[in-house]
C-alpha cells in the first residue's frame, strides 16, 4: 500500500505576517512545513514502520521554495517526493485536481492532508480530493490504524468524537493528537539530499482557478488594554465587573 502525504509550506506560527498590495507577502518570513501536515507525514511513516504501508510519497504544490518542506518530509523518512512547481495560487478545490491525479498516477490507497493548514485556514482540500477520487474521507482524525484493507480509528466531529471503520482507499485529514512528529536527525537530513525529488509541471493537470483572490488586509481590532491591579482581589473583581456591565455593557 502506498501513502501520499501532502505538505504545505506556511509561516512559522510565531512569525509576523505582512500584506503587500493585495496579498500576504512571505518574503523574509520564516517558513516551515505546516504543523497539521507534519502529523500526516509522521502517521504515514508510522504506518510504514508498522508494516501497513510499503511506500510514503510526499507531495507539494507550490513555488520553488516548497522544496524545503519536501526535504523536511524526506528527512523525516518519506521515501520520495513530488514537487508540482507553480507560482500560481490555487484554491483548495482547484488544487484537489492535482492531488487526486497524483494519487491516481502513483496508485496511492491512502491520502493524508492536514485538517486545516495555517496559511489558507482551509479545511477543504481533503474532502475535495476524496470527491474527485470517488473515495470516502475521514476528517480531523486523531487515531488511525490500518490492517489489510481496513482503516479504523477515531476522529472529532461537531460535538464530540466518533470511532470509525472504513475500507481503503481513503482520504484522511490529520491534526494534533494523532502522534508526536519526529525531528529529522542529521544523518537523515544528509540522506534526504540523495532521495528522489521529482519536479512536475502544473500545466499537465488541467487546473482552472475558480476563485479570484481580490485583496488582503490585516485588521487588528483595537483593544483597550485596560490593566487592573490584582493585588486587592475584591477591588479588582468589582472594578472588572463594573467595566463589563457599564463600559462594555456585555453583562447584565
Amino acid at each position: 500500500m502506498k501513502i501520499l502525504t501532502l505538505v504545505r509550506q506556511v509561516p512559522d506560527a510565531e512569525a509576523r505576517v505582512k500584506v503587500a498590495g493585495t496579498a500576504v507577502d512571505l518574503e523574509g518570513t520564516t517558513l516551515v512545513i505546516d504543523g497539521m501536515d507534519e502529523y500526516g507525514v509522521e502517521e504515514a511513516l508510522r504506518l510504514r514502520e508498522a508494516g501497513s504501508a510499503a511506500e510514503v510519497i510526499a507531495l507539494a504544490v507550490g513555488p520553488k521554495r516548497s522544496e524545503d518542506a519536501l526535504r523536511t518530509a524526506l528527512a523525516m523518512g518519506a521515501d520520495r517526493a513530488i514537487h508540482v512547481e507553480t507560482d500560481i495560487r490555487l484554491d483548495a478545490v482547484a488544487l484537489s485536481r492535482v492531488v487526486a491525479q497524483v494519487a491516481q498516477a502513483e496508485g496511492a490507497q491512502l491520502v493524508l492532508v492536514g485538517g486545516q493548514e495555517a496559511d489558507w485556514d482551509s479545511q477543504a482540500l481533503g474532502a475535495a480530493t476524496a470527491e474527485r477520487l470517488g473515495w470516502p474521507q475521514l476528517t480531523w482524525v486523531n487515531e488511525l490504524k490500518v490492517e489489510g484493507e481496513t482503516a479504523t480509528g477515531r476522529h472529532d466531529v461537531d460535538e464530540g468524537n466518533e470511532s470509525f471503520s472504513a475500507a481503503l482507499p481513503l482520504v484522511v485529514t490529520t491534526q494534533q493528537g494523532l502522534n508526536e512528529p519526529r525531528y529529522p536527525t542529521l544523518p537523515n537530513i544528509m540522506k534526504a539530499k540523495k532521495k528522489e525529488l521529482r519536479k512536475d509541471n502544473l500545466d499537465t493537470y488541467g487546473v482552472q482557478a475558480g476563485v479570484q483572490f481580490v485583496g488582503a488586509e490585516i485588521q487588528a481590532r483595537a483593544r483597550k488594554n485596560h490593566m487592573i491591579d490584582g493585588k486587592d482581589p475584591a477591588a479588582a473583581a468589582s472594578e472588572l465587573l463594573n467595566l463589563l456591565r457599564n463600559e462594555a455593557k456585555v453583562l447584565a
Binding site: 509561516p11 506560527a13 505576517v17 500584506v19 484554491d91 483548495a92 478545490v93 486545516q116 495555517a118 496559511d119 485556514d121 482551509s122 479545511q123 477543504a124 482540500l125 475535495a128 476524496a130 470527491e131 470516502p136 476528517t139 480531523w140 472529532d156 466531529v157 461537531d158 460535538e159 464530540g160 468524537n161 466518533e162 470511532s163 470509525f164 471503520s165 472504513a166 494534533q176 493528537g177 475558480g210 476563485v211 479570484q212 481580490v214 485583496g215 488582503a216 488586509e217 481590532r221 483593544r223 488594554n225 485596560h226 490593566m227 487592573i228 491591579d229 490584582g230 493585588k231 482581589p233 479588582a236 473583581a237 472588572l240 465587573l241 467595566l243 463589563l244 462594555a248 456585555v250 453583562l251
Partner: protein
C-alpha cells in the same frame, strides 16, 4: 434559487441557519431563498424553516438519520442541480466544511469557504480569515458558487413576512461507506459555545481539573456563560474536546470572552481573537493574551475568581 442547507439539532434550527438566511438575503444573488432540511423526523424543523424562507425542501429519510459527508453532499448537489441554484450556502461548522467541498466538486463550482461577508450578486464576493485568522482576505467567484458561512458572522435573520411552501423531495442517495462504530457526544447543560454571548475559558494556568470546575465553571454559571478550554487543557484530559477553542477546536466570537490562566498562543487566538471584548486574568504579566485583552488582571486566580463570583451575585 439560493439554496441553504439548514443546520438543526433534529428538533430546532440552529442560530447558524438564521445567519445563513441573512447571508443569502444580502448576497445580491437572484432567486427565492430556499432552505433544504435533511434528516429523519424533521417535520418540526421544516415548519420552523418555512418561517424564514420562500420555500422549504424536506428530505426526510431513515438514510439521513445520521450525518454523513457523502450523503449530505449527494443530496445537496442533487437539489442544487434540479433547482438550478445560483448559490449554495452551507454552515461553516466542522461538518459543513467537511461536505461543502464535495458539493463544489460535484457541481464543478468554485467554493468560497468560511465567509464572514457575502455580497456582489453576479460576481459573488466574500471576505474570509486566513493565516490563523490574522489576515482578512477578499475572494470572489462567478456563476454557480458554493459558500460556507462562518458561524457568528452574520446577524440571525428575522422571520419572513409570509411562511414559505414546504415540499417533500425524493433523494437519490449513495450507500454510506464509513461505518461509525462508536460515538461520544459531549453534551453540556450550558449554552452552546458557538451561540454563547459570554464565554469563560480556562487554560493550563488554572492548575488542575478541580480548579477548572471551581473557577471556570463556577464563574460561567454565576454569569450564565458558556465554558471553553484551551488545547493544552483538553490534551491533558481535564476537559472534553467539545469545549476546545482555537485552530483545532471551535471558532467563537462572543460579546465577551473571559480567559482564565490562558497564555494566548497564536493557535488559540485564531479561535477567539474576533470576540467583541476580551478579558484576561493571568498571574504572568508577560502572557501574550494581555496584548489582545480589553481588560486584564495580573494576579492569582485562586483569589480573584472567587471574588468575581461573589461580586457577580451582588
Amino acid at each position: 434559487m439560493i439554496l441553504i442547507v439548514a443546520e438543526h439539532n433534529g428538533s430546532k434550527l440552529t442560530k447558524s441557519t438564521l445567519e445563513m438566511v441573512t447571508a443569502a438575503r444580502g448576497s445580491g444573488r437572484e432567486g427565492p431563498v430556499t432552505l433544504l432540511v435533511l434528516g429523519q423526523g424533521v417535520a418540526a424543523v421544516a415548519t420552523e424553516a418555512a418561517g424564514y424562507a420562500e420555500q422549504v425542501l424536506v428530505g426526510d429519510s431513515a438514510a439521513l438519520a445520521q450525518y454523513n459527508a457523502e450523503l449530505w453532499a449527494a443530496a445537496t448537489a442533487q437539489i442544487a442541480r434540479e433547482g438550478e441554484a445560483s448559490t449554495v450556502i452551507i454552515g461553516g461548522s466542522r461538518s459543513g466544511r467537511e461536505y461543502a467541498p464535495r458539493v463544489a466538486v460535484k457541481l464543478d463550482a468554485p467554493y468560497l469557504e468560511d465567509a464572514i461577508s457575502l455580497s456582489g450578486g453576479d460576481t459573488l464576493t466574500a471576505q474570509r480569515y486566513t493565516f490563523l485568522a490574522r489576515v482578512t482576505e477578499t475572494v470572489s467567484a462567478s456563476g454557480l458558487v458554493v459558500v460556507t458561512a462562518k458561524p457568528g458572522s452574520f446577524a440571525p435573520a428575522e422571520p419572513a413576512q409570509a411562511a414559505g411552501e414546504q415540499y417533500d423531495i425524493d433523494l437519490d442517495l449513495p450507500a454510506a461507506r464509513v461505518q461509525i462504530t462508536g460515538k461520544t457526544v459531549e453534551k453540556t447543560s450550558r449554552v452552546a459555545l458557538t451561540e454563547a454571548d459570554v464565554i469563560v475559558t480556562g487554560g493550563r494556568g488554572v492548575g488542575n481539573p478541580d480548579n477548572f470546575s471551581t473557577y471556570v465553571e463556577g464563574l460561567a454559571d454565576s454569569i450564565g456563560a458558556g465554558v471553553g478550554a484551551t488545547r493544552a487543557v483538553v490534551d491533558a484530559g481535564w476537559r472534553p474536546y467539545a469545549e476546545q477553542v482555537g485552530q483545532t477546536g471551535k471558532t467563537v466570537q462572543p460579546k465577551a470572552y473571559i480567559a482564565l490562566g490562558v497564555s494566548g498562543a497564536v493557535q488559540h487566538l485564531s479561535g477567539m481573537g474576533k470576540s467583541k471584548f476580551i478579558v484576561a486574568i493571568n498571574k504572568d504579566a508577560e502572557a501574550p493574551i494581555f496584548k489582545v485583552a480589553d481588560y486584564g488582571i495580573v494576579g492569582d486566580l485562586n483569589e480573584i475568581v472567587p471574588a468575581l463570583i461573589a461580586a457577580s451575585k451582588s
